[in-house]
Symmetry: C2
Subunit: 252 residues, 2 copies
């Protein structure tokens, strides 16, 4: 991946397309996977939206997100059935035409006998004008990239294969480094001092994430920064705070 330079930040939005996620029938497994992989790759995931299989909603979300972030990834809606309308919507969002792409047909024919090729399966070969294919190592039917929008399948294994393939071609920024410290204390015991540390180390991002045990809630602190020295300085202050503070008898 090409680094964006010392201070460059590369951002991304993610659009999850599908009625089945909003009805709860399918539990999304892609958001967490994409979030973790992008973060590890030096791309900051800044926003996720989940929208139904409705053209107006998808077009509006594609246009809102592609303009805000370096990249927009989408998952879902690229199969052969009537509810798969992502390609149509991305073409509409960009104001370009949509047509069957011979390169995509060739890929499909590696997997589908010619006698079984039909109009429905050819829907999976439609790519908006100007789009590049995103390869699918699992079942061949490709996704595509148009401008800064990367269109992927919804099935997790297929999406993961597509993302692996496309990542090396993307710009990346300086990675957000991260350290986790188990405070062994309640959030309410540390919050005031932690707030002061967060203010002092304003080039870092400090988060507090409570977890429950049978003795009540404790918290893990996560410090993030692109600069290792700044990260270490904030971490040292947090560790000194933890060593200094006594646990209270409160449980939260």
């Amino acid at each position: 991946m090409a680094a964006e330079g010392e201070t460059g930040v590369v951002t991304a939005g993610l659009l999850v397309i599908g009625d089945e996620i909003l009805s709860g029938r399918t539990k999304d497994k892609n958001i967490g996977y994409i979030a973790e992989l992008l973060t590890a790759s030096g791309i900051d995931l800044c926003e996720v939206r989940v929208v139904p299989d409705e053209e107006a909603e998808i077009v509006a979300a594609v246009n809102a997100l592609r303009k805000r972030y370096t990249y927009l990834f989408t998952t879902g809606g690229i199969g052969p059935t009537h509810d798969d309308i992502t390609a149509d919507c991305v073409a509409k969002a960009f104001g370009v035409s949509l047509a069957v792409d011979p390169r995509a047909v060739a890929l499909l024919l590696e997997r589908i006998p010619a006698k079984d090729m039909n109009e429905a399966r050819l829907r999976m070969a439609r790519v908006p004008a100007g789009g590049e294919l995103v390869l699918n190592p699992v079942s061949k039917a490709p996704g595509f990239r148009l401008g800064n929008v990367i269109v992927m399948a919804g099935i997790p294994a297929v999406m993961q294969g597509m993302l692996d393939g496309v990542l090396p071609s993307l710009k990346t920024g300086k990675k957000l480094l991260s350290e986790t410290i188990d405070a062994g204390l309640r959030e309410g015991d540390i919050a005031t001092e932690l707030g002061a540390i967060a203010k002092k180390h304003s080039d870092t991002i400090i988060g507090s994430y409570p977890y429950s045990t049978e003795r009540g809630f404790f918290t893990r602190l996560v410090v993030r920064a692109r600069d290792a020295d700044k990260l270490a300085a904030a971490k040292a202050d947090i560790e000194a705070m933890i060593a200094r503070l006594k646990p209270s008898t409160a449980v939260i």
Copy 2:
């Protein structure tokens, strides 16, 4: 729950607040749970957004979503630490003040010894003017409801307890009924006929959800409708189609 009437549709948006979801450090478990429970309760979840712990992002999303849907649920950002800014943001979105609420303090004191009460813990008792408490059966620190916005914790067990408590007070619409049919066929084999059935039964929502097996991809069809007769009619047409079609040798 009070039904909205025979044809009334009650909608919801969900706003997931938290850097930890966008970094992939924490895998969200709330979207799927809330989606399933709202659907079962007669509330249609129409959109989900995930945003970071940043005031401008949260305020903009609260205002965008609360105006579009009957209800807006939020998760995350209501603890005592500096990164918990949801109450501040909701107050700002509504243009109202935020203050420590004596009812919320009383609840906190059921769980926190008075000697351990401090400024940080009192942050958890802040409620925007006009807000009603949403009870927390797990750890007492409440959420709140302001207008059509319901603010809940991010920890799944706490969020679930809050949602259980608040649901009976919400309007609900006629439930979207659902039937799932395993087609035993490839999407590409049925897509054309299925599209015609979807067009014919336009008062139903028909989705096709592929799943992979060692013999390739098959698909499950989900028919949804608020009217049981319309659902049954679409389902009958789908079952007749499945009985009529022969599987091809294609694997997708």
